[in-house]
C-alpha cells in the first residue's frame, strides 16, 4: 500500500515535469489493479450520441471504504477507448470551486487490456467520507455505419457499442446508464432483463434510452449493448488539423491559417455518385448525410479570408463581416459522402490589438482561441491537432497556458522557422494535441513572450547594413584604377 502510494506520487511528479507523457506505463513494482479503497454509492452514466462524437458524463458519488484518507480514484477504460479518448475533465458536482483535479491516462498492467483514467482529488478524502465527481470526456471514431453502404438518397444509420453497466474499477451499489440520441428513430437496441418494477431495460422515452437502475455490481462488471439510430448528417472527422497563428509586430497583424484533412466517416455510397439526383435532392429532400457546407464563426474584426485546396482557390465561399460577426461560410468543391476525403486550407488576418497586449513589465501577451474550426449542428471531431504560434524573430522567454484539458495535450516545443526577411529565424511555439472536438472551440491559448527593441530592429538593420555595404562597395570599386598607364 505504502510503496504504491510512494510510487504513484513519484509518477504524478514525473507527469508534472513532462506534459508530453499523456499516457504512462507503470513498472512491475506497482499493482496491476487499483486498490479497492472506494465504493461507488451511486452512479449515473450519460452517453450522448447526439453529435458525430460521443460525449460521456459519469456522475458518481464515491465513498472511501478504506481506513486511510484517499486521494486517487481510477476510472476503468479499454485500451481501444483510451486511444480514442479526449477532453477528460473532472469537477466536483457539489462544489464548483473544488479543484483542480489531476487527470492522467495510465496503464497499470501492460499485459492487460484495461487502462485507467487516474483522477487525483484536490484534497484527500477521509475514511468513510463521500464526494460527488462529475467526470466528462469524449470518444472519437465511435460509430459504425449500419448498413455500411447506402444509396445517395437513403437515410444514414449509425451503430454504437457501449456497456449498459458503467465499467468501474470499484464495486458499484447503484447505477443507471442513459443514452441520449439525436432523434427518436431508433430501429434497434439491446434489450436486457429488467429488475424491480421494470420488466425490461431500456426504458425508451423520446430520444432517450435508460438502462437501470441496477443493483450492486462487482468491480469490472460489463454488459455489452448496442444501439442503432438514425443520423442523417455528415460524420465529419478531421484526421489532422494544422493551425498556424503568426504574430507580426511591424505589421500590427495576427495571421491565421488552418489546414484540414477532412474525411466523412459515415456510410459509403452503394452506387456511383449521381449528379442529377444530387441536384434534384437539393429541392425535394434537403436533408442529406453528405457534407455540403461548413460555417466558421470567426472573431469580429477578421479580414482578408481565403479558402483554397490542392487545385487552388475555391470560389464557393461567402464571408459576412460586420461589427457583430465575421462568419466564413464555405462549400467544399464537391459534396462529401461517406469515405470521401477533402483536404483544404483557410486563412484570415486580424489586427494585432484584438489578440495582443503589452504587459506591465515590458513583455507581450497573446490570447487566441486554441481551435477555431467549423461550428456545425452535427459537430466535428479532430484526431490530431497541431497549433503553431509563430512569434516575431528574436522573441524569447515563451510561456503558455491553455484551457484545453491538459490530458489532451501531447507535446509542446519551441522551434525556429525561417521565412521572409529573417536572419536567425522566428520563434515558434508548437503545441500538439489529440482527440479534440468542436465543443472545445472557445478554449483559450495564452502565450507570453519578451521581445526586446534590439530584436524588433533586426529586420531594418539587416537591410540597412546590406545596402550600406553596397554603397561602400560601389565607391571602393569606382575608385579602383584599372587603366593601363603609359610610362
Amino acid at each position: 500500500m505504502k510503496t504504491s502510494a510512494v510510487f504513484s506520487a513519484a509518477l504524478s511528479l514525473l507527469s508534472l515535469v513532462s506534459p508530453s507523457s499523456a499516457k504512462s506505463t507503470t513498472t512491475a513494482a506497482s499493482p496491476s489493479k487499483p486498490p479497492q479503497v472506494w465504493k461507488n454509492a451511486n452512479l449515473v452514466h450519460i452517453i450522448s450520441v447526439e453529435k458525430n462524437y460521443v460525449k460521456e458524463n459519469i456522475n458518481v458519488l464515491v465513498e472511501n471504504i478504506s481506513k486511510q484518507p484517499q486521494d486517487e480514484y481510477f476510472l476503468l477504460l479499454t485500451a481501444d477507448e483510451a486511444s480514442r479518448l479526449g477532453g477528460v475533465e473532472v469537477k466536483d458536482r457539489k462544489n464548483a470551486k473544488a479543484g483542480p483535479f489531476g487527470v492522467e491516462v495510465v496503464e497499470l498492467d501492460p499485459k492487460s487490456n484495461d487502462q485507467y483514467i487516474r483522477i487525483k482529488l484536490p484534497a484527500a478524502l477521509n475514511a468513510g467520507a463521500q464526494q460527488t465527481l462529475g467526470i466528462s470526456y469524449y470518444l472519437l471514431k465511435a460509430y459504425k455505419p449500419l448498413p455500411a453502404t447506402i444509396k445517395q438518397e437513403d437515410q444514414q444509420f449509425l451503430a454504437h457499442s457501449f456497456s449498459a453497466l458503467c465499467p468501474s474499477a470499484y464495486v458499484t451499489s447503484k447505477q443507471k446508464t442513459e443514452v441520449k440520441l439525436p432523434s427518436a428513430n431508433v430501429p434497434d437496441y439491446t434489450k436486457l432483463p429488467g429488475s424491480g418494477d421494470v420488466k425490461e431495460f431500456p426504458v425508451k422515452s423520446g430520444a432517450k434510452l435508460t438502462y437501470g437502475p441496477f443493483d450492486e455490481k462487482p468491480a469490472g462488471a460489463v454488459e455489452p449493448a448496442q444501439v442503432r439510430f438514425e443520423f442523417n448528417k455528415p460524420v465529419s472527422h478531421v484526421t489532422e488539423l494544422e493551425r498556424d497563428i503568426e504574430v507580426s509586430h511591424w505589421g500590427g497583424n495576427v495571421a491565421f491559417e488552418e489546414r484540414y484533412t477532412l474525411i466523412h466517416r459515415g456510410a459509403n455510397l452503394s452506387d456511383q455518385f449521381n449528379r442529377v439526383k444530387w441536384a434534384q435532392a437539393a429541392y425535394y429532400q434537403p436533408n442529406t448525410h453528405a457534407l455540403k457546407e461548413m460555417k466558421f464563426p470567426l472573431r469580429v474584426g477578421s479580414a482578408d479570408p481565403y479558402y483554397t485546396d490542392v487545385i487552388g482557390n475555391v470560389s464557393t465561399s461567402r464571408f459576412r463581416s460586420n461589427k457583430r460577426e465575421a462568419l466564413l461560410e464555405i462549400k467544399p468543391r464537391y459534396p462529401l459522402f461517406g469515405g470521401w476525403k477533402y483536404p483544404f486550407t483557410i486563412g484570415w488576418n486580424s489586427d494585432a490589438k484584438n489578440f495582443l497586449r503589452q504587459t506591465v513589465n515590458g513583455g507581450y501577451i497573446l490570447n487566441v482561441p486554441f481551435l477555431e474550426g467549423p461550428k456545425q449542428p452535427e459537430g466535428i471531431e479532430y484526431e490530431q491537432v497541431q497549433v503553431r504560434v509563430i512569434l516575431p524573430e528574436g522573441a524569447e522567454n515563451v510561456k503558455y497556458s491553455t484551457t484545453v484539458p491538459q490530458s489532451s495535450i501531447t507535446s509542446d516545443d519551441v522551434e525556429i522557422q525561417k521565412t521572409f526577411l529573417d536572419t536567425i529565424g522566428r520563434t515558434v511555439l508548437v503545441i500538439k494535441a489529440r482527440n479534440l472536438v468542436d465543443d472545445l472551440r472557445e478554449r483559450e491559448l495564452v502565450v507570453s513572450y519578451d521581445y526586446p527593441l534590439s530584436a524588433s530592429l533586426r529586420k531594418p538593420l539587416i537591410v540597412f547594413g546590406s545596402v550600406m555595404a553596397l554603397f561602400v562597395g560601389t565607391w571602393v570599386l569606382g575608385n579602383l584604377d584599372l587603366k593601363f598607364t603609359s610610362k
Partner: protein, 79 residues
Amino acid sequence: MDSALHEVWQAASGRPFVPTIGKDSHFLIGFSLLILGIGLSGAFVINRSLVNVPVLGLPASLALAFGVVYMFCAVGVYV
C-alpha cells in the same frame, strides 16, 4: 490551467498592442521611403565621392531599410 498567465492577460487589458504605423499607412510609407531611397541611390551613382557615402548613402540605406519592411507588410506578407 495555469491561471497566472490569464491574470497577466486581464491585467494588461488597458494596453492593447498598437503598432507605430497602422495597416492603412503601410503602402504610403513603404512606397515613399522606397522612392526616396532609390532617388538618393541614383544621386549617389551620379556622383560617387567619399563624402557622398555618408551624405547620400546613409539616408538612402535607412529609407530603403524601413521602406522594404513596410512594403512587405503592405503587400500582405506580415513580417
